[in-house]
Symmetry: C2
Subunit: 132 residues, 2 copies
């Protein structure tokens, strides 16, 4: 479906481009990469060190998706060894505030969420015992 | 890792609870469910109809994760047939603005992102031809 076929782009419609874009954005690794590049240009190895737990493959794939969406620009220097740098485009920069807010919310509410998880797991283990 | 072991919760640390929470939040289906429940309580079948393209299994799993995190409350009525309703908790409600902003951004920028994708694909197909 083309955007022009979409009366008004909406993330609720499976075929609408806005939803296809949310596929890439609402992704943990994409969020963490955008947050990291918000402070400036980084090389591949620097990004990998900065994002604890990301695999080489996942970083490659997510950077490529972000580049394809026009959020990240990849610059290759013909040096020896070759150097590759990643930065946010102005479009990517306009997303920084949104993803920062999501991360800040997660950080601020993590204690409350962990308590909710404990209550849920305790309740569910009691239900399982009662059903036996 | 417990939150108390974490000097300051940060999404950049793989073992930090804030990162584990981002695993659930930065997920397309979780975002779409939170946006839908923001307008009020819905039954399972209503949610499924409202979110185009979600499978029964994915809706079940994502609702359970959101319930476990204390963002969604599930209410079971002992009627015949049994009725199950889902609503946001106050904690879930505090997330609505953040995810709404992400969706609004995706909707507002979808045309620009689609143009970026076209340019990327055209450039890459030329590189492939040149390399043959």
């Amino acid at each position: 479906m083309k955007l022009t076929d979409c009366m008004r782009p909406t993330v609720n419609d499976r075929d609408c481009p806005a939803r296809l874009i949310l596929d890439h954005l609402a992704d943990k690794w994409a969020v963490l990469i955008v947050v990291r590049l918000a402070s400036g240009t980084l090389r591949f190895a620097e990004l990998r060190r900065a994002i604890d737990g990301i695999s080489q493959k996942m970083l490659t794939v997510t950077l490529r998706d972000l580049e394809r969406d026009g959020l990240v620009v990849r610059k290759l220097y013909a040096s020896v060894p070759p150097k590759v740098e990643y930065s946010l485009t102005p479009l990517g920069g306009s997303l920084v505030d949104k993803v920062n807010e999501l991360c800040t919310w997660a950080e601020a509410n993590s204690a409350e969420i962990l308590r909710a998880r404990e209550r849920f797991d305790k309740r569910n283990s009691m239900v399982v015992r009662a059903e036996r």
